[in-house]
Amino acid sequence: MKALIRFATDYVSYVLKGGMKFYAWMGALALLMVAMLYVFYLQNTEGLIVTGMTSQIHEGLYFANLVFLVGVAAGAVTIVFPAYVYHHEGMHKVSVLGEMLAITAVIMVMMFVFAHMGRPDRLWHMIPPWGIYSLSSMLGWDVLVLTGYLILNIICGFYYLWCKYTGQPINQRWFIPLVFVAIAWALSIHTVTAFLIATMPARPMWHHTVMPIRFIATAFAAGPALIILIFLIIRNTTKFWIEDSAIRLLASIVTWCLGIAIFLTFSEVVIELYARTEHANGLYYLMFGLHGLTRLVPWFWSAVVLMIGAFILFLTPAVRNNMTLLPIACAMAFTGIWIEKGMGLIVPGFIPTPIGEVTEYFPSFVEWLMTLGIWAFGFFILTILLKGAIGILLGDIKLGGQSAVAN
């Protein structure tokens, strides 16, 4: 117990200490978080009228980010899986960082759920015994798997860090099975999120079987793309060295998952537009506009350019293995998927409405500020979690050791 308190105090004091750059970064994020709190207050006094959402298009930027971030959370498994299943040395060293990213992403998803709800004050209605838990609802399942994934990652990640901190050996008897459960669970969170929208025949844009695998393919491209970026930042700003082999493996995972994602999008376009039934109207709106409304067309084509461009870059060994060019390809893939799987997937589901009304959606300033704030909040947590984890991995935080200051 005493050691646990020492762990907490050592962890916190290490994390809180930093240079000017660290405080400037955290301060800027905190500023955005304050803005987020203000618009959250606005949304819960004025109502969702301050957003661009309507009865026609009632899921927008928040839901888009929610779906995307579930993918990022699931994408963290691309580190854990090679580390524990293939015993990849370079990966094993950093697998806990993947768990930290997963924790952050799930917390961000929950923030977006809060932002999305019309009555966040009533969310306890979902939690038994005070509320009702409905197993018939995909949203209920989503809450279950996300909460489970968060808990699994907190246990796995912090138990690992705890062992490193105290120097005691990891109890393989329960730790390894739990890691495998977490790996399977990662697939479940994104599958259920795909089911969430694909189980609505009222929305033909989403109602097809390719959705879960497309979600997982895009997740395993966007997730590791972000991880590579984070790893390169860690390599450049801390003493912690991440092996080239780990980054190379992640890069090839991004390459092939991005390829599959592009292939699935291409298949969908051909299948939908060949017959061009009314059910293809959503996709048609996305690609070319409908009834003179073309707001999302540039979004879609920019995503296409970014994704295909990134795929070509990833296929080029000179880029893939070049640690200064790789971040460009990663940023392109990440942004492309954020557009395609976020707004590009969610909004056209509502255009036209089930009775054929064509309206458009404009995210309001409030929505952008909220989204920015939640991302800032995410980076805030991620910075803390990664800093603490790296401190422990480096041995800067150690039971009985002198508390050191991170660079």
């Binding site: 004025e46 109502g47 969702l48 009228i49 957003t51 959402m53 309507t54 009865s55 026609q56 009632h58 899921e59 999305h116 709800m117 019309g118 009555r119 966040p120 004050d121 009533r122 969310l123 209605h125 979902m126 509320g131 009702i132 409905s134 018939s136 609802s137 995909m138 949203l139 209920g140 809450v143 969430l196 929208i197 189980t199 609505m200 025949p201 009222a202 929305r203 409908l290 009834h291 589901g349 036209p352 409405t353 089930p354 009775i355 054929g356 009304e357 064509v358």
Partner: protein
């Protein structure tokens, strides 16, 4: 304040014959007297029950100073309506009556009459007769306390009247338009959107109806027997009542809008802000699961005027329809108007391929 009896409901009880008279202008429908009596029978029990729910409304009006705060506090911690005991329902009802009465400055009754045995409500609409006047839309708004503001999202209408092109195939249109087909399918077409709802024709505003070149198709909640909206609700706040209508406990709704995504008929609306409901226009005769004023952030939809239909009256849209296109009644009663329609007319359900089994039927003569 004087203890007042809500007006319209009262009259329906003292003069049951009044409610049984269809507002229909169609003499053929008025001619058959048989449905009258039976419909009165099935809804009579409801009328008796309502009396008790109205009692004491006046007495509750007296102290209304901090009624709002107290009621909101109590409302926040109440259970899902379906899980409430009879006593808890009465408490919730009283709380709401106090709050609404204080808020709207007049005695407001909140009915908690449940489903009556032997009743399964059904609806039939004669699309041949509809002239697209949208009186049903306005009557519905007035009856059901929808938001009527001017900012986008503040104006809520549960009934949508779709305008459909009559369409005319003309020689000049030959070999133009769809299908294009990259030169494979050439000639032999004069594409005309006959019988199709054209995009962007929802807010038609002609000088007079019916328009020569259009037909109309009103839609609202279909009160499905297998409602997709109920299945997706994570808190089970929307459910099918024992007599058929799909209802919402507005106090339990978390505003996640999954139901709106799942509904293939676009029947549901979200209150993006506190509904704009002027005191003078507020209808004080309400039902807990029906037309009581909603709050910010919750979903609402048509419930077949539970506050009326459980007490032997027609829904407002049926009552107001000037051409008698709308029929409502008990599907289990072979003598009801809607059963007669099902027996004698050609009927169809909208989007039957989705297996939602609407209890709202379309028919034509």
């Amino acid at each position: 304040m004087t203890p007042a009896q809500p007006p319209s409901l009262d009259s329906s009880q003292t003069q049951p014959s009044c409610s049984a008279t269809p507002a229909s202008a169609n003499p053929a429908q008025c001619g058959s007297c048989a449905p009258k009596t039976s419909r009165r029978d099935f809804l009579k029990a409801g009328g008796m029950l309502s009396l008790s729910s109205l009692m004491g409304t006046g007495a509750l009006m007296t102290h209304s100073d901090d009624a709002h705060a107290a009621a909101e506090w109590g409302e926040h911690f109440q259970k899902n309506y379906r899980l409430m005991t009879e006593q808890e329902k009465i408490e919730a009802r009283d709380r709401l009556q106090r709050r609404y009465s204080a808020e709207y400055g007049k005695p407001v009754s909140v009915d908690i009459t449940g489903a009556q045995p032997g009743v399964l409500m059904g609806y039939a609409l004669n699309i041949r007769k509809c002239i697209g006047c949208r009186r049903c839309v306005h009557a519905c708004v007035a009856e059901n306390n929808q938001s009527r503001g001017t900012r986008p999202g503040e104006k809520i209408e549960w009934i949508q009247v779709l305008r459909m092109e009559r369409g005319k195939f003309e020689a000049e249109k030959m070999d133009h338009g769809y299908p294009e087909g990259l030169g494979i399918q050439v000639g032999g077409n004069a594409y005309t959107p006959a019988g199709q709802v054209l995009e962007g024709q929802f807010h038609y505003n002609p000088e007079a109806v019916p328009e020569k070149d259009a037909t109309y198709m009103p839609i609202a909640c279909m009160q499905c027997e297998k409602p997709p909206c109920v299945k997706v609700c994570p808190v089970r706040t929307t459910y099918r009542e024992g007599d058929g209508p799909v209802v919402i406990d507005y106090n339990w709704c978390i505003g996640c809008r999954m139901c709106m995504g799942a509904c293939p008929y676009w029947a549901r609306r979200i209150n993006v802000t506190t509904p704009v409901l002027p005191k003078a226009e507020m209808n004080p005769v309400t039902h807990y699961l029906g037309n009581r004023p909603r709050m910010r952030g919750v979903v609402e939809k048509c419930h077949w005027c539970l506050q009326r239909t459980r007490h032997g009256r027609y829904p407002a849209c049926v009552e107001v329809c000037p051409v008698g296109a709308r029929k409502f009644g008990n599907l289990l009663d072979p003598e009801s108007e809607v059963s007669k329609v099902l027996e004698r007319k050609n009927v169809f359900r909208l989007k039957a391929d989705l297996n939602t089994f609407p209890k709202f039927f379309y028919f034509y003569d």
